[in-house]
Amino acid sequence: MSTTNVERVLFERPQSLVALPFPYCPGCSHGIINRLVAEVVDSLGISERVVGVTSIGCSVRCWKHFTYDMVQAAHGRAPAVATGLRRVMPDRIIFTYQGDGDLAAIGTAEALHSAARGERITIFFVNNAIYGATGGQMAPTTLLGQKTSSSPYGRDPVAAGFPIRVAELLATLPAPGYIARVGVFDAANVNRARRAVQRAFEVQMEGKGFSLVEFLASCPTNLKMDPVKANEWVQKELQQYFPLGQFKSPEE
């Protein structure tokens, strides 16, 4: 009998992820998004040039999992820290990894102004419409009527205003090179999200300025849903207010 080797690797840990289990809750999207970033860094062959900036919230944990140089920033300040890194090291590839509270509440000014300057950095923005690490409080992207531990009667626009569409807001600025919103709730969208991550890095590497990918993400623990239900909620409810798409690209 011939011994034709039919084994081939279909799935493995990306080179630029540390061999360490993710700390995220079951059904949380952070693991998928961390992995997408790592996969794209591997496929572009840029791991030696990358430096990441973490933020505060569940997203702070990602520094343990990437094999690149990582810098920990204060709450909301990752784009400012990335700006400092960028201005000293023009040849590096710099990204921040931020949640919705970090980027769209406490760090709105830093995100907006780094985009307005066309700072040559990439922001990965994880929008799960809730605060994770602090236990499920209202986020700037929490939907109207959505109940959280700090909006127990549902988000009321009279008292708490409306959710912020970050991708659309930043796309009004002339300087950004690439802005997209993606989902990771099914395989087809994960593949689209991977392409968006790649495009965001490429835009930075091509010197075309600021890039941002907003991920619609799931936080089953704080949504108080099982992972399947939470994923469905993201796909149906969250996506309705935050449509997926490309809002800015160098080709436009």
Binding site: Y68, D69, V71, Q72, A73, A74, G84, M89, A109, E110
Partner: protein, 347 residues
């Protein structure tokens, strides 16, 4: 080779930063420190440096944090309310052990205040300023010459201790013009092996403001305590003026020290034995300057342009051996030499 020039304090400080190898400035305008930002906006592009006017002081200090993580000599400058906004970032830089220079050309009074000279940010500067248990290395110039010299020293000490350093000046020192002599070109800044700047293939580097574990957090704090103890031992700086036979020792820094020195000279001419201890490092406080003062001195008079902040540190240094009195007020009060003379004679 030395070169004598006439310069404004804020501009002397800025040019000294360039001489010290600083090529990155991030800041937000505020009077009476804005000439630093304006001077560097003009000068840094000429020499291939980076000047960035940030959207806020909050952003500025975090840009400084990023540039320091990348191994650069980097600074920001502001005035009291702006420095208050930077405190979170300064605390993070202390925790992540990132050397940088923060200049505070102070305003007077709490809140917005106004721009006359004052020394009311002494506590904020010397007690860390932000949350947690940390210190800055704080240097207090009293002339345009020292605005330059201490800036170069502050960069060196920041790198030596991997810690943020601060120049604490006031509007008078920032705005006035005086002759200044440039010394020899300082040595190039050290290469920072711990930074994320990459020159060759190596293991990943992490710049963290919070360690991985509770044990790591204790370890960091033990390390900081040890580092501050070393600085306390090695970096106390002061100037003693006519103290050897002084019956009254005036303690004052910065602008208040200039005024006090004039009062002491005038009293000496009249036969009164007064002297001056001028702290140059406010942290570490120069407690060593007070060793044995009780052999001649009957009392200390602390002159400050605040309602009494450094007087606490003088009392700790003197430790009850002789009485310590304070004289001062914030909000733009400037003592005249005559007022200081009169107060000395009360002892």
């Amino acid at each position: 080779m030395s070169e004598k020039v006439l310069m404004k304090g804020n501009e002397a400080l800025s040019e000294a930063a360039i001489r010290a190898g600083c090529r990155h400035f991030f800041g937000y305008p505020i009077t009476p420190s804005s000439e630093i930002l304006e001077y560097l906006a003009f000068r840094l592009p000429q020499i291939g440096g980076t000047f960035l006017q940030s959207e806020s002081e909050v952003a500025a200090i975090n840009m400084v944090y990023g540039a320091a993580a990348a191994g650069a000599r980097v600074m920001t400058a502001s005035s009291s309310p702006g420095v208050s906004l930077m405190q979170e970032g300064i605390s993070y830089a202390a925790a992540a052990e990132l050397p940088c220079l923060v200049v505070n050309v102070t305003r007077a009074s709490p809140g917005l205040g106004r721009i006359p000279p004052a020394q009311s940010d002494y506590w904020q500067a010397t007690r860390g300023g932000g949350h947690g248990d940390y210190h800055l290395i704080v240097l207090a110039p009293f002339s345009v010459q020292e605005m330059a010299d201490l800036t170069i020293l502050a960069f060196d000490l920041a790198d030596k201790y991997r810690n943020p350093a601060m120049i604490l000046a006031d509007g008078m020192l920032g705005q006035m013009m005086e002759p200044l002599e440039w010394g020899n070109q300082p040595q190039d800044p050290p290469v920072k092996e711990w930074s994320v700047s990459r020159t060759e293939s190596r293991d990943r580097r992490l710049i963290l403001a919070a360690p991985i574990s509770d044990e790591g957090l204790l370890e960091l704090n033990c390390h900081l305590v040890e580092k501050y103890a070393r600085a306390r031992e090695d970096e106390q700086r002061w100037q003693s003026y006519l103290v050897d036979d002084a019956e009254t020792i005036v303690v004052a820094y910065g602008t208040a020290a200039r005024i006090s020195a004039e009062a002491i000279e005038s009293l000496r001419k009249k036969g009164h034995r007064a002297g001056l201890i001028r702290p140059i490092s406010l942290w570490p406080f120069p407690a060593k300057a007070f060793a044995g003062i009780e052999t001649t001195a009957g009392s200390c008079l602390v002159v400050e342009m605040s309602s009494g902040q450094m007087v606490d540190d003088v009392r700790l240094a003197v430790n009850g051996r002789i009485p310590v009195r304070g004289m001062g007020l914030g909000g733009g009060w400037i003592p005249t030499p005559e007022m200081v003379e009169e107060e000395i004679l009360k002892s």
